[in-house]
């Protein structure tokens, strides 16, 4: 019983390690810059969605305002670098900590709301954040910030000639987000979060301080998303409010997890690997901005998945194991 569980946990680690190793080898064979670009974005969204999943999937507090933390990460890094010459690595950390603190400050009133009211609050707060940045002259207002190019270096985390460093960083970020989730899943917090999602009253009666659990989930989730935002700022080297804090980012963090399996370890990765290339392909296939068409594609996918596999794509993998387990009991 104990052994079975430990073995399952170990197997997950091994599978993740193998997948990461294979992913790390892919750029050796794929030299096309456009495809590499898509791969970077896929890994980034896998990491973001994995982080979103901690608060919204495990703890059940559906946020459609995570673009706020993404933007905060991007802006903190870019502002610290352009205004004060602080290296992006420190900016990344600062953005993460700032986002975690803001997530807790916002959680203080918002976690008293339940269900749809909480979701609405997250959307509204992210929109307020967007408007504030758009009107903040020191931070470039609606024009945004152009991150000056100072030559390729890991120290300044800038690379103009190759996308490979970004690829490996995005891969590392996705691995970290996955590992944090894996580790939290079998910790006190992981159990508390799932209990809070399923039934807060029962959780409270078992000694779970529901409010603190939500705050913890929000902080971890916001921190990791902000690191993703910092990375994105370095990757595109130009940010403006719409391009890092727009509502579409909140959606793009939520959708892979929902598609792959909300509140599951592998859901966000699986969802991102399918959804993000599909988005990029439809965009380039349709030409022009293509915005709108990709949204139609998501919408259709989500409707189909929620009708056919309400627990997400990961349930396709879980099913045979379930049969096997049943057979073993009998």
């Amino acid at each position: 019983m104990d052994k079975d569980f430990a073995r399952r946990r170990r197997r997950e680690l091994i599978v993740a390690f193998c997948l990461a190793a294979v992913a790390a080898l892919v750029p050796l064979f794929v030299k096309d810059v456009y495809v590499q670009n898509v791969m970077v974005l896929t890994l980034m969204y896998a990491a973001l969605s994995q982080s979103w999943n901690i608060l919204s999937g495990y703890c059940g507090q559906i946020s459609l305002g995570h673009a706020l933390y993404f933007g905060l990460g991007a802006y903190t890094t870019a502002l610290l670098f352009t205004k004060f010459g602080v290296l992006p690595w420190f900016g990344m950390l600062a953005g993460g900590v700032l986002s975690a603190l803001i997530a807790m400050a916002l959680g203080y009133p918002c976690f008293r709301l339940r269900g749809h009211y909480f979701v609405i609050a997250t959307i509204v707060i992210a929109e307020i954040g967007l408007l504030l940045i758009q009107n903040w002259d020191w931070a470039g207002a609606a024009l945004g910030i152009d991150i000056p190019v100072r030559g390729d270096s890991w120290l300044k985390f800038q690379f103009t000639r190759s996308k490979l460093p970004y690829f490996y960083f995005a891969l590392a970020l996705a691995c970290v987000a996955w590992f944090v989730t894996w580790w939290l899943e079998d910790s006190k917090w992981g159990y508390w979060w799932r209990a809070v999602k399923d039934n807060p009253d029962a959780a409270e009666s078992l000694g779970v301080v529901v409010f603190n659990s939500k705050m913890g989930a929000a902080a971890v989730s916001a921190f990791l998303v902000a690191v993703g935002g910092s990375f994105y700022a370095q990757f595109v080297s130009y940010i403006d409010p719409e391009s890092v804090m727009g509502f579409q980012f909140s959606l793009l963090m939520a959708l892979p997890a929902v598609l792959g399996g909300i509140g599951t370890l592998w859901g966000p990765v699986l969802g991102a690997v399918i959804l993000i290339p599909l988005t990029e392909l439809t965009r380039s296939f349709i030409g022009g901005s293509g915005r709108g068409v990709d949204l139609i594609v998501y919408g259709t996918l989500i409707v189909l998945i929620s009708l056919a596999l309400p627990r997400g794509l990961v349930s396709l993998f879980a099913r045979p194991k379930f049969f096997w387990r049943k057979a073993a009991v009998r």
Binding site: D2, F5, K188, A195, N199, A202, S205, G207, V210
Partner: protein
């Protein structure tokens, strides 16, 4: 026998409705006490006040020599009050063992220890064979036992059972009664709310009858069931002895 739980002059008003008025009861260490009464007598309200779901309008609640009136449910659980819910509240997307682990975590922070503990509790409650099943796949009587298991995993000094035996088949109810006896043998004090008298009366050491928000009668089960006031409360004036 020392007192474990005591309510002192507890009142609970919901707007104009008085659900509990001046209720003072006490439960001794190691006892099984039944809290009974007809529908609307205020049993569930009193139960929720003791569990810490809401604070009383007036009065105080003492547990293990400490005033717990202002404490939330989670803090009371930490102090040693475990409870079940009348309408079962399983964590439906989690497996049976994971449900119990949530309870076990309050005393054991090392995951391996908590898991072991949860498994032992499941065995004690006769649910070990269902450990890896999703809680949503359990049948109603198993869900009731899961409620008890989850609460026991928090290692309570006082276990509050809210109609755990109601709505079960006679065979299921019998295993339920045996489980409650087993729980008491491990040194846990039990306060159980029940609606159906014939199930609880053979089980409890003492019965407290509530009616219209007040303590009507309190005493040995055999005396309580013969008390004319109790019969009147349950069945109306016509059935009262000697009326």
């Amino acid at each position: 026998m020392t007192v474990l739980l005591e309510t002192r002059g507890v009142w609970q008003r919901f707007g104009g409705l008085v659900a509990n008025s001046d209720v003072s009861i006490s439960v001794g260490r190691g006892e099984i006490v039944g809290l009974i009464g007809p529908n609307g007598a205020g049993k569930s309200t009193l139960f929720n006040l003791i569990a810490g779901v809401l604070p009383p309008t007036q009065g105080s609640i003492w547990f293990d020599g400490e005033d717990v009136t202002g404490m939330r449910a989670a803090e009371r659980c930490q102090r040693g009050i475990g409870r079940t819910f009348q309408v079962v509240k399983s964590f439906e997307t989690m497996t049976v063992i994971d449900n119990v682990i949530v309870g076990a975590l309050i005393r054991n922070t090392v995951m391996r220890v908590a898991r072991r503990k949860a498994y032992d509790v499941l065995e004690f409650c006769g649910l070990a064979a269902r450990a890896n099943v999703l809680a949503s796949d359990l049948v109603p009587s198993e869900k009731r036992r899961l409620e008890v298991a989850r609460a026991l995993a928090t290692e309570p000094k006082l276990l509050l059972l809210d109609e755990v035996l109601t709505g079960l088949t006679p065979v299921e109810a019998k295993t339920g009664v045996e489980l409650v006896r087993k729980v008491r043998e491990t040194g846990v004090t039990v306060l159980m709310v029940e609606h159906v008298m014939e199930i609880v009366m053979p089980l409890v050491d003492r019965a407290i009858v509530l009616d219209l928000g007040k303590v009507l009668v309190e005493g040995k089960p055999s005396e309580v069931v013969r008390d004319p006031k109790v019969i009147t409360a349950y069945l109306g004036d016509r059935h009262a002895v000697g009326a």
